[in-house]
């Protein structure tokens, strides 16, 4: 009986539906659990960086703290401040959590662990990522709170400023790889770690022999620019002007309580995951092991076990980047707002425009001779 039901749902045409539902549920669970435990990592990390133990009371090493926080947030009463725009006020948390969920559908976590193989997956991540700004701004505006409105205005000017260098840098990657399919970008970076885009840009060994000069000599700088823009786009320290705790209470979500606040937090961590996953895919070889074309490729193409190993490599790289985001937050002080905008408009945009020019010249140069 159970076996026949199982067989019914795992054969075509129903398998497509089952697969989609499984991914949907999986992504939702992943986002929730990830946010809960990244908060734990953040608090524990903050504690360690400041030479104190961090959460210790609930569970071993405070590991039961996130579920406790979740229950607390769920039990709180939801209230909208008087004079606020109620519909927009409650629409904002939904709009802020939906885009990263959609983005995660296009991200290949492993060999064939991918909800939807889109030809233009990269574009999809960026187009849905751009909704985030609007949601935060609506939340800030609908709250009818001075701090929230100041924060909303900051969010927009910051995100608009940093979207430009980020997209310019990504265009250099598209020019080198020649595709916007995220899975294909990863497949191109097979072999040793010197084939990852971050190093392949300098010297390309993929043709065999001694190789030739790569498409983008400034690839490590490109990665750095991408990483900085990712920090700014997700409103993380040292660019957390949007929710500067010491000056703006909690920024755009000052007026939110209970799970409304919780959803904003979840979305923030989901956005960090999307950003770091994208950095991993574009620059660090995604689920490729980077251990050379013999042993390394064998490791990740070994049936189901290979897929699991590949996913392991992906998560190792991604969570290292996420840890570095936490690390930076508790190490660097917040920048000034003018410094933030100057960094983007006067340093990052000129450099990324230069890398764009350099890449196009380097890609066309060999064809001239």
């Amino acid at each position: 009986m159970i076996e026949s039901i199982f067989k019914f749902f795992t054969t075509e045409p129903y398998w497509t539906l089952t697969r989609s539902i499984l991914y949907l549920v999986g992504i939702c669970i992943f986002v929730a659990a990830n946010a809960a435990y990244l908060v734990w990592v953040e608090r524990k990390g903050a504690g360690r960086f400041q030479r104190r133990p961090g959460p210790t009371e609930s569970g071993p090493w405070g590991l039961l703290q996130p579920p406790a926080d979740g229950i607390k947030l769920l039990a709180k009463q939801l209230m909208a401040p008087p004079g606020s725009d109620k519909i927009l006020f409650w629409a904002a948390p939904l709009m802020v959590i939906a885009p990263p969920l959609v983005c995660l559908a296009a991200i290949p976590f492993g060999n064939n662990v991918l909800a939807r193989d889109l030809n233009i997956g990269l574009l999809m991540v960026f187009s849905f990522g751009s909704i985030n700004v609007m949601a935060l701004m609506l939340g800030g505006w609908a709250s009818r709170n001075k701090y929230a409105i100041i924060s909303a205005a900051r969010v927009v000017s910051q995100n608009v400023a940093y979207e430009i260098p980020m997209l310019l840098v990504v265009i250099t990657i598209i020019m080198v790889t020649g595709t916007m399919n995220l899975q294909e970008i990863i497949v191109q970076q097979a072999g040793g770690f010197w084939n990852w885009n971050i190093l392949r840009g300098i010297w390309d060994f993929s043709g065999g022999g001694w190789g030739h000069i790569g498409g983008n000599l400034l690839a490590p700088v490109t990665f750095l620019i991408f990483y900085i823009c990712m920090l700014a786009e997700t409103n993380r320290a040292p660019f957390d002007m949007a929710e500067a705790e010491s000056e703006l209470v909690a920024g755009a979500f000052t007026e939110y309580g209970g799970m409304g606040f919780g959803v904003f937090f979840m979305a923030e961590y989901a956005n960090i995951v999307v950003g770091c996953a994208l950095a991993t895919i574009l620059f660090l070889g995604g689920w490729q092991s980077g251990l050379g074309s013999g042993f390394g490729t064998l490791l990740t193409s070994w049936g189901v076990i290979g897929t699991v190993i590949g996913v392991g490599f992906f998560f190792a790289k991604m969570y290292f980047l996420i840890f570095s985001v936490v690390w930076i937050r508790w190490t660097f002080p917040r920048t000034q707002f003018y410094g933030l905008l100057n960094l983007s408009w006067k340093i990052l945009i000129p450099i990324s425009l230069f890398t764009l020019l350099l890449t196009s010249v380097l890609l066309k140069l060999p064809r001239l001779f």
């Binding site: 187009s127 609007m134 701004m137 409105i149």
Partner: protein
Amino acid sequence: MNSFPFSDWIVAAIFVSFIAITVTGALIAALTKRIIRSVCGLAICSLGLAGLFYFLNSPFLALMEILIYIGAVCVTVIFGVMLTEPDEPKPEQHTRPYPVISPLIAIAIAGGVFLGIAWLSLSANWQAPASIVSEGSVKDIGIRLLTTYSVPFELISLVLLVAILGALVIARSGRTKE
């Protein structure tokens, strides 16, 4: 694909729901009195349009619709609204009644345009392409932009350049030393 049960019905339901989203968004944008809600209506409308594009097998256009109309146009409009009027005033109380004739003219023009377009789309001899015109579409759009339509493409960039220069001139005019 077609072996899936009720696939025709599911396809129809998806199509109708995208149209419903588009129309709802447009109605919100046109009918609400708060300008920020009408921007949200515009965003919903664009989302529905993007869904329709995706439904019609052009994901590139769908994503561009979201990236440009929601990510750029709506954000810019809301930003403008926020900079001008943080505390929206109550809608004015009209002491004298609206003139009867102006809404009638508006309805007549809108109805005329709608009927004209509907008549055109029903009467025109549309020919379905024999095969799918382009598979990847991104590549084709790129090639078209730089070959067939290169002059309009360059002209658009010229317009943008002029707009940027104008913005610079306006923004800097207050800073020059007298």
